[in-house]
């Protein structure tokens, strides 16, 4: 059993209500922070905790907080990124729906730390039912005196606003999110200036993921050192993993960082192994944008040691033999999955979601989709494989925001590790286009 920080009380009946949440020790972090700590003191604990941004980029949260500019007389904002849209990722959805008060409590202590008096939770518009759950939780917290004017008699005021998105993956990128929150199209901004200096309404702003902010409450209660003691090295704490695909037990799991990938995948406590009668073929460990790995590379490092669920271990070997923890979207493929079809699917997704601002991404994602479509449908040529590699290379690093990289990596990694499968589609078009047809050549199944 791993340590649980966020999902400790998930099974308590009625935990979505204020009364039950409060009985389980809820809102003690707000009391502790506001009554006994300075805002700088809270920032210090979050720094000590070493928690890295849980949205996918993994940037140290405390450092992000310490970059926030504090000019006199200018409001500062905290914006929670709840635009969870990375394929394979559904942990924030799960957390907000089931324990909304955990996010609200985290928002209050984080806003207090940053000196924000109005903070926003930007939720993807498709989750309108979750928005209503959050709004109810906010009203309950306000009635209990944890929000509004003069919280707990401290003189500190805070208002929380839940803001719906409109259906656009790009708004998960923090500057696109801010544009969207200002009522505009979600086109990412050029950086610098970074949001910490000029963010929402050109004011200093911190944007953090739902899971990161929810964790802040535990850090306040238990201290940064206690958090840093969980996990391994620079991968401190716990992480919510969204597990999907061909496993026995799909769902959201909280793990202590450092669990071996193999254990997470096969233990009955978590994924429960590959569905009956099937074998692991490939795995995407951190959401659709991170490199896909074949079975033999995902559970072991190049030196034969077990690969762990940490930022460092998953990226060991670079993109040649490694991948990334990303958002923790853990997508499992058994031998019935066609890698070419899946790559085409992901490529179509990124083309659809490209905002169109930068030419390499706007044109390149469409080009990759088109080439993958023709390979999958039996009209590809051998030249197409290198063409895809070339297009991916020319998108990567050449765009304002990371959507370009996110579109390039799945294609480049699928070809790197499953090139024979792409070739088979080209050399055996009649066979490959049969419904459900999958390459049966040599591959290392586990």
């Amino acid at each position: 059993m791993g340590k649980k920080i966020l999902l400790e009380h998930i099974d308590v009946p009625g935990i979505e209500t204020y009364d039950v949440y409060r009985k389980q020790g809820g809102y003690t972090a707000v009391e502790k922070a506001i009554k006994t700590m300075s805002p700088e003191g809270v920032v210090e604990e979050v720094k000590k905790a070493g928690i890295r941004g849980r949205g996918g980029a993994g940037f140290p949260m405390g450092m992000k907080w310490s970059f926030l500019a504090k000019p006199e007389g200018v409001p500062r904002y905290l914006v929670c990124n709840a635009d969870e849209s990375e394929p394979g990722t559904f942990k924030d959805h799960y957390l907000m729906k089931n324990i909304p008060h955990l996010l609200i409590e985290g928002m209050i202590v984080s806003s207090y730390a940053l000196g924000a008096n109005k903070s926003f939770i930007y939720v993807r518009g498709e989750l309108m039912y979750v928005i209503r759950i959050l709004e109810k939780a906010i009203a309950e917290a306000k009635a209990a005196g944890f929000l509004g004017k003069n919280i707990l008699g401290s003189g500190y005021d805070l208002e929380l606003v839940v803001h719906p998105g409109g259906g656009a993956y790009i708004c998960g990128e923090e500057t696109a999110l801010l544009e969207s929150l200002e009522g505009k199209r979600g086109n990412p901004r050029n950086k610098p200036p970074f949001p910490a200096v000029k963010g929402l309404y050109q004011c200093p702003t911190v944007v953090n993921n739902v899971e990161s902010i929810a964790t802040a409450a535990w850090i306040v209660n238990n201290g940064g050192d206690a958090y840093a003691a969980i996990g391994i090295g620079r991968s401190s704490g716990t992480k919510l993993i969204s597990a999907s695909g061909h496993i026995k037990k799909p769902g959201v799991y909280e793990i202590e960082l450092g669990v071996p990938v193999e254990e997470f995948l096969y233990s009955d406590e978590w994924c429960g192994g590959i569905r009956d009668g099937h074998h692991l073929k490939a795995l995407v460990a951190g959401g659709s944008s991170v490199p896909i790995l074949p079975a033999n590379l995902i559970t072991k490092l190049a030196n034969g040691e077990p690969r762990l669920m940490t930022y460092e271990s998953l990226s060991d070997g670079g993109f040649q033999t490694g991948t990334m923890l990303g958002s923790g979207g853990f997508i499992v493929f058994d031998e019935t999955a066609c890698i070419v079809r899946n790559t085409w699917n992901f490529s179509r997704f990124y083309h659809h979601e490209s905002c169109g601002q930068c030419s390499p991404c706007r044109e390149g994602t469409g080009w990759m989709e088109k080439v993958l479509h023709r390979i999958e449908h039996g009209h590809g040529s051998m030249h197409d494989i290198d063409l895809l590699v070339d297009v991916a290379k020319k998108i990567e690093g050449n765009t304002i925001c990371p959507l370009g990289d996110a579109a390039a990596w799945p294609v480049a990694s699928a070809i790197r590790h499953f090139r024979d499968e792409f070739e088979w589609h080209i050399t055996h078009p009649a066979e490959a286009t049969q419904p459900g047809a999958v390459f049966k050549g040599e591959m290392a199944l586990v």
């Binding site: 849209s85 394979g88 409109g166 009522g183 695909g245 799909p250 699917n345 905002c355």
Partner: protein
């Protein structure tokens, strides 16, 4: 401003909600209420006609083009009339791994329409959407605020029968 625009108005209840939404944002920043108001408008009219978008623009004191450019950027807004129930079907990878494509073909065949079309009785519109953040419960589709998960042919039959009543 067209003549019909004067007939486009929120119901009194929604007008009150709209005013509350605008008041949530700092003074001079009322444009931030655009997405919330477009959702509210779609809830009332089912889709966003130019007249509705013009109405929202006037309410926020912004140019009509500022509304159009936003409404066309975000995929949740319907810019043409839709049927009573809009089925938003997830076509992204993880759902496909769980048989999402097969269930989607079945649904299209059952309704006799393709993506972007509405049934002759105006009851169902089918729309393809990207990942709905419910990958562990795929295949998934959404109708308004409700998620329908772990779809099978039988479940699709039940849902369509229920909504056809």
């Amino acid at each position: 401003m067209t003549e019909t625009s004067t007939t486009v108005e929120f119901t009194p209840e929604r007008l009150k909600i709209a005013q509350e939404m605008i008041a949530r944002y700092p003074a001079e920043r009322q444009k931030s209420a655009l997405l919330p108001l477009l959702h509210l408008a779609q809830e009332q009219w089912g889709w966003l006609s130019p007249e509705v978008m013009d109405y929202i623009g006037r309410m926020l004191d912004i140019q009509a083009i500022e509304v159009y450019e936003v409404a066309t950027f975000y995929t949740m807004f319907h810019l043409d009339p839709v049927g009573k129930h809009v089925i938003e079907y997830c076509r992204t990878g993880p759902c496909c791994l769980m048989g999402g494509e097969e269930i989607y073909d079945y649904l299209k065949q059952k309704l006799g329409i393709q993506a972007g079309e509405t049934t002759a009785d105006q009851k169902f519109t089918l729309k393809e959407v990207e990942c709905l953040a419910a990958c562990g419960m795929g295949p998934v589709f959404q109708i308004r605020e409700k998620y329908y998960m772990n779809l099978t042919r039988d479940k699709v039959d039940e849902i369509i029968a229920e909504l056809s009543r």
